[in-house]
């Protein structure tokens, strides 16, 4: 019965099954990670492990296109009642860091697997070197907790107690892990029951054909959208501020090639894998879900009727050289991949913004700091450890309206904790939690404002950890004449004699009375600020989103006594237009300065050197090269990367030589470059 006409009926039933699984998990999970942060997913897959249906209300947004196939196949045979699981980022390439535990349960009909119910939970801790198992400073996967390759957790309905005991022995919060694990198993069982009901309703052949139909349906929708994008090559690069503690920038590069209804995502030019935990493990999978999260956002934004499943990934092929930050080889640490994933998303948004600027927003803030405090409660003398709040920035200016303030785009799933609850539970006092004026990129449509969080602590040796610090240096970009947004920052005792700029630091220690200030980046602006209606600028000024000064300097709007001075505004704007050279992207002065040294040509040389070196030399060589280039640039010398490399080899003769290839065939990425050299 599942023909195209009725495909929506099966889609609805599959969606209902997925929503049911999500509610079961959400309702019965123990940890705050699952309950509040909703860092979990559930799905139905086809018999090959391709995701067919996901929930839309609950859970994280990263895995609608996840493929369980490789992990499934690492277990030779399945029987009814089995449940497979893994958390190892290096076997099966399903899990992407150790805290994520992925499970899958085959669902049988008359002895044959018709589909799988699957899902993941983020465990608060999986053991390893640091509590919560995550730190930028970790350098190999072994430090990031206990790992399990794909194996059976349940055999024919029976839990393998041995595996469980080993797991629970090695983690810091065994009861929470166990509670969440049981909740996920409950969700898979819910999924199985719902699938059995669907088998009765649609018949096994109808159900199978329907799943295939749903994947085809999503694929068709994706291809439809690709066809609406002009053929061509679109190059984009974006940078994480630091590749390790106090490190160098980490560049992600992408050449998006659109040909008809297909797209190639070539990540050649991306930095080498890091000796920190910012690597993103994708296992040479040309359609790995982490590489395509930005694509899901773009497709869903272009077509809100999109069916979210792995069929969407079919027209896309990713090329990700091995030994790079987006395809690290064992045993690179990967725990903090979420920071890099945020850059990966803005990279994809940027590439699509080149292809279809008329339909894309500017960059969202793209760096959501998660603030935790460990302090002593003076009333009880007890140590208090608490998650305070995510500090999230606004969305980018859209084709038809301003970016939302203080949240939006790819961070819209995050939730905050009320100030009153925080103050009742944690001995800190908040001074400010609100929007930061003038932080959104100026534009015809303004970027969403940044959020500021400021609080005072009262106990000595109070530790503040702020995960995912980024966009302190390289700003969220503006497009089509819109400006880049204000960057983020982390400051101790702002405005006082003891002020200390902490920037991307993710751990700080404070004394009694110290004030901690964190603000996110804003969202980028879209279109020329000179085209923004003066009334909208006036409204922004009235609302305190934009200062009088910025109204004049950025928007050319003169406001006197609460009204727009039309004549003066016209004069200012005409003058500004004369000096204005419109660029399609505005990256802000920091990136502009960086790229006058690290030009695309120099990055090509750099990539060539990195690619030629054995993987274990790359991060070391990168660090040394950056050091050398920094010194040369300080001297005012035009750095020559090859000479610098030769000098480094003289100091470290163990480093293998690299043959310089003739550069007459520039990388494809160079052909259509928008970056000014």
């Amino acid at each position: 019965m599942v023909d195209k006409v009725a495909l929506q009926i099966l889609a609805n039933h599959c969606r209902a099954a997925a929503e049911n699984m999500a509610y079961t998990l959400y309702r019965t999970a123990h940890s705050t990670f699952v309950k509040e942060t909703q860092d979990f997913t559930v799905m139905l897959t086809d018999a090959g492990g391709m995701t067919v249906a996901v929930p839309m209300d609950l859970g994280a947004t990263w895995y609608p296109g996840i493929n369980f196939g490789r992990a499934i196949s690492l277990i030779p045979d399945y029987a009814p009642g089995d449940i497979g699981f893994t958390n190892d980022p290096y076997s099966g390439y399903l899990a992407t860091h150790a805290p994520d535990l992925h499970l899958w349960k085959p669902i049988f009909h008359e002895g044959e697997i018709v589909c799988f119910a699957g899902g993941h939970i983020h465990n608060t801790d999986m053991g390893g070197a640091v509590p919560a198992s995550l730190s930028r400073a970790l350098t190999e996967i072994h430090q990031e907790g206990i790992r399990f390759p794909p194996m059976k957790l349940y055999q024919a309905g029976k839990l393998d107690e041995t595996i469980l005991r080993i797991m629970l022995l090695n983690v810091r919060k065994p009861q929470q892990n166990l509670g969440d694990l049981k909740a996920l198993v409950g969700a898979l069982n819910t999924g199985e029951r719902k699938v059995q009901a669907m088998l009765r309703k649609f018949g096994v052949d109808g159900f199978r054909a329907g799943l295939a139909g749903l994947l085809d349906y999503a694929e068709h929708q994706a291809r439809d959208m690709l066809r609406s994008i002009p053929n061509g090559e679109y190059f984009f690069a974006d940078y994480a501020d630091e590749d390790s503690v106090d490190g160098n920038p980490c560049r992600l590069a992408l050449t998006l090639r659109i040909t008809g209804d297909e797209a190639e995502l070539d990540f050649t030019g991306t930095d080498p894998q890091l000796t920190s935990s910012l690597n993103v493990p994708t296992g040479n999978d040309p359609r790995h879900t982490l590489l395509l999260v930005g694509v899901y956002y773009v497709l869903y934004t272009l077509n809100p009727h999109l069916v979210l499943n792995a069929g969407l990934t079919r027209p896309f092929t990713c090329i990700v050289p091995e030994g790079t930050v987006l395809n690290p080889v064992f045993p690179a640490a990967v725990g903090m991949r979420s920071l890099t994933c945020a850059r990966l998303r803005s990279l994809i948004f940027g590439a699509f913004a080149q292809a279809i600027p008329e339909r894309m927003p500017a960059a969202p803030a793209g760096a959501s700091s998660i603030v935790n405090v460990m302090t002593t409660d003076e009333r009880t003398q007890r140590t208090v450890i608490a998650a305070i709040n995510p500090v999230v920035g606004g969305g980018g200016g859209m084709p038809h309206r301003d970016g939302p303030n203080g949240s939006g785009a790819d961070s819209a799933y995050l939730k905050n904790t009320p100030i009153e609850i925080n103050e009742a539970e944690v001995p800190v006092q908040f001074l400010r939690y609100g929007l930061l004026p003038d932080s959104g990129g100026a534009g015809r449509w303004r970027g969403g404002l940044a959020t500021t969080l400021e609080f005072r602590v009262f106990a000595p040796n109070t530790r503040i950890t702020v995960r995912n610090r980024d966009r302190c240096r390289f700003r969220p970009w503006g497009i089509l004449g819109g400006s880049a947004a204000e960057p983020s920052n982390f400051i101790l005792n702002p405005g006082s004699a003891s002020e200390k700029i902490l920037g991307n630091t993710d751990v700080a220690v404070a004394d009694p009375g110290d004030v901690i200030h964190i603000h996110s980046p804003g969202g980028g602006g879209r279109g020329s600020p000179l085209d923004r209606e003066p009334e909208l600028v006036l409204r922004d000024v009235e609302r305190g989103y934009v200062s009088l000064r910025a109204a004049l300097s950025q928007y050319g709007v003169a406001i006197r006594e609460g009204a727009v001075d039309g004549e003066e505004t016209a004069r200012r704007r005409a003058e500004k237009r004369r000096h204005n050279k419109p660029a399609s992207f505005d990256f802000g002065p920091e990136r502009q300065a960086f790229e006058t040294v690290w030009t695309p040509a120099r990055y090509d040389d750099f990539t060539m050197i990195m690619t030629a070196l054995p993987v274990h030399w790359r991060f070391f060589a990168k660090t040394k090269l950056f050091e050398a280039v920094r010194e040369l640039a300080l001297d005012g010398t035009k750095p020559n990367l090859w000479e610098a490399f030769t000098a480094i080899r003289r100091a470290f003769p163990q480093m293998p030589p690299v043959q310089r290839k003739p550069n007459d065939q520039p990388a494809a990425a160079d052909k259509k470059r928008m970056l000014a050299d």
Binding site: V5, I9, R27, K35, G396, S407, F430, G434, R543
Partner: protein, 680 residues
């Protein structure tokens, strides 16, 4: 002889339900609204009630009514221009809200425009801490400036919401007094008087909603009072509340936020009453109108209560009957996408232009048109003769969809119904999953104009075997008001560990809540009848970020038995989440008290047994389950106690049409409910 009159005022109709208290005779009436002359229809209706049923104005002992005036003010954004005073440094509390946004896969996701624009939000220095201490005094100079500025910007009222005011309302009171003194023409509400609960966004937005609808609701209630007085209605007029209870109009003029779900909540209360009469414990109510459908669960005879329902674009945090609204109704539009997949909704033809077959200018095929094409509608006039179905127009609209699909007209119509049902299935399933209940234990009770039409189809999809269609599905809300109790909720945030040392505070707080409750019921409402106070506590394990409400027994509080309170929490946690942790610490966040002044529930008189078999009025051709067939059509008015009919069949009545597919058998019970049971 006295009458209780229940009235529900909707967009198109005013529904009346009246009860003669001595005889328990129940009558109903539906009148078209007169948008040009609000209040007029009410007087007309009362006149008709007097003429038809002998309801004399002077003998109306209780006049209970539900209204959408509050919710419409929010949806249409026609409320008061407000200023908001917050603690300095926290002026963006309503814009940041709780951060998470709906539609999280879209880069274009946004928040709704706030009810108070940022330029009318003023931060006032002054700080109360979490323990209630006055850390920094209220800055009266800044406050005075803010009042002057707000006044200059033409606001009608001021909302005051300061941090930790649930714990110590001192600064809010000072600010309120000062604002009233400086600007006596403005109304002022403070967050601690509206709903004094911890969590600044939730408390602030509740106070804002209250102020936003206040002028319109208050004016409306005043004119209603006048109209009733003129008509000579003797009883004290009452208003139905979101919590399913009642309050008087005087209270309604200021406690506006507690009447926003007025009619919706009493619909569920009415359904629960009918279910109890019919001895059905677990009910899924389904009220389908033109653009949306409301779903609610009645478990073990009790409607469910919660917070976090939405009104327009905003969450509502005062206790309300839990109702889930979904954007699919009789007017949902069918269309075909580029892949050739048939879709229904979310776009709706609404009530204007409405479905194509209404002949009011609608051209696109809706669910109602699909039902008309199948012959399930259009056999009798709809909505008390207000609408005649033009099947030709329905066929033309559905025909366009059929052409795109390459299917026949009826096949297309049936497919539209199936797709629509499957999308409702998703939403109902989520509701059921949230409560962790099994749909097979439930009876579906469809009402509203389109509910009984689609009810059996949805039941079939859900695996629900029983459907009950009330005798008067159009006036369930009005009936709900009629049988409602006086009821009010009170809350105090205590935020203490569940330890014996907290016992005195718990006792004192409950005593204070009880005083508030008694004052509300006895003094403000002059209620003399039997009353009940239910105690509960919002509790959680240390480290959790949400609470569950646990009923508390009076005796535990008196005896300081915190162990019993903890045990109750462990039990409740186990029941809701399938696990508990007896070793973990517990926090008591809020204490609550619900005071109820009980209204006598009428025992409806059973109808006499039917004399013979049910006789169809005629036979009609309908397309059902893929074939055209001739099925009997019954008039609901001709169906009597103990009559039985088998599907496929159609039952028409003044306010709706009941579709009975094959595989369902119907029996009329003593209260004239149509009980449908699936034979499969």
């Amino acid at each position: 002889m006295a009458w209780r009159v229940g009235v529900d005022i909707g967009g198109t109709f005013i529904d009346f339900c009246v009860l003669e208290t001595d005889t328990n005779r129940l009558e109903s009436l539906k009148v078209l609204t007169t948008p040009d002359e609000p209040g007029r229809e009410l007087i007309d209706g009362l006149g008709l009630l007097a003429d038809r049923h002998g309801v004399e104005a002077a003998k109306v002992a209780a006049f209970v009514h539900g209204t959408t005036v509050g919710v419409n003010t929010i949806i249409q954004r026609k409320g008061a221009r407000l200023a908001l005073f917050t603690t300095a440094g926290f002026e963006d509390v309503i814009e940041l809200a709780r951060l998470r946004m709906p539609d999280m896969y879209s880069l274009f996701c946004t928040r709704p425009e706030q009810l108070v624009p940022r330029d009318l939000i003023f931060g006032i220095p002054g700080r109360i801490l979490a323990d209630g201490s006055d850390h920094y005094p209220l800055d009266e100079e800044v406050l005075a400036d803010a009042v002057a500025l707000a006044r200059g910007k033409g606001v009608e009222g001021i909302i005051i919401s300061f941090l930790h005011a649930y714990r110590n309302p001192l600064h809010e009171r000072q600010a309120r007094e000062m604002a009233r003194r400086l600007a006596p023409e403005l109304f002022v509400f403070s967050s601690s008087e509206v709903w004094p609960v911890i969590r600044e966004y939730e408390r602030t937005t509740t106070a804002i909603l209250n102020g936003y609808v206040h002028p319109r609701v208050s004016a409306y209630l005043t004119s209603l009072e006048t109209a009733l007085k003129r008509r000579g209605v003797s009883g004290d007029p009452m208003l139905t509340k979101s919590n399913g209870g009642l309050m008087n109009l005087e209270a309604g003029k200021t406690a506006c936020v507690s009447m926003l779900l007025s009619g919706t909540a009493s619909g569920v209360m009415g359904a629960a009453f009918l279910a109890r009469q019919a001895a059905v414990d677990n009910v899924l109510t389904l009220d389908i109108g033109g653009t949306s459908a409301d779903l609610a669960l009645i478990i073990d005879g009790r409607p469910q209560f919660g917070t976090g329902e939405t009104v327009g674009d905003f969450p509502l945090f005062v206790p309300s009957v839990s109702v889930t609204s979904i954007g699919s109704g009789g007017g949902s539009i069918a269309w075909v996408d580029g892949f050739g997949v048939l879709k229904v909704g979310p776009e709706s033809a609404g009530s204007s232009p409405g479905p194509a077959c209404y002949g009011r200018g609608g051209g696109r095929a809706t669910i109602t048109d699909a039902m008309a094409v199948c012959g399930l509608l259009g056999n009798a006039p709809l909505a008390y003769d207000a609408i005649a179905i033009d099947r030709g127009l329905a066929e033309r609209a559905v025909g366009e969809v059929a052409a795109k699909l390459g299917l026949g007209l009826q096949e297309t119509a049936e497919a539209i119904v199936e797709v629509a049902i499957s999308s409702m299935f998703v939403e109902v399933n989520k509701l059921i999953a949230r409560y962790g209940v099994d749909p097979r234990d439930f009876t579906l009770m469809p009402f509203g104009g389109a509910g009984p039409m689609l009810g059996c189809f949805l039941a079939r999809e859900l695996g629900i075997g029983k459907v009950i269609v009330p005798q008067r599905p159009g006036v369930v809300s009005a009936l709900g008001g009629l049988i409602a109790d006086m009821k009010s909720d009170f809350i105090r945030t205590v935020f203490v560990p569940a330890e014996t040392r907290s016992a005195p505070l718990i006792r004192d707080t409950f005593a204070a809540l009880r005083e508030d409750g008694e004052r509300w019921l006895r003094d403000e409402h002059g209620f003399l009848g039997p009353a009940r106070a239910a105690l509960s506590a919002d509790m959680r394990y240390d480290g959790q970020s949400f609470e569950i409400e646990v009923p508390i027994e009076e005796a535990w509080v008196g005896a300081g038995d915190v162990a019993a309170i903890k045990a109750a929490f462990h039990r409740e946690h186990l029941a809701i989440y399938d696990f508990n942790d007896e070793a973990a610490g517990i926090q008591i966040v809020n204490l609550r008290l619900v005071i109820t002044g009980m209204t006598a529930r009428p025992a409806l008189t059973p109808a006499p047994l039917a004399a013979g078999e049910a006789v169809p009025a005629r036979e009609v051709d309908v397309w059902l389950d893929g074939v055209l067939r001739r099925v009997p059509l019954y008039a609901r008015s001709g169906l009597a106690h103990a009559h039985r009919i088998s599907g496929p069949a159609i039952v028409v009545q003044e306010d709706t049409t009941v579709c009975i597919p094959a595989g369902f058998d119907a029996a009329i019970d003593a209260y004239l409910n149509l009980n449908l049971a699936s034979s499969t």
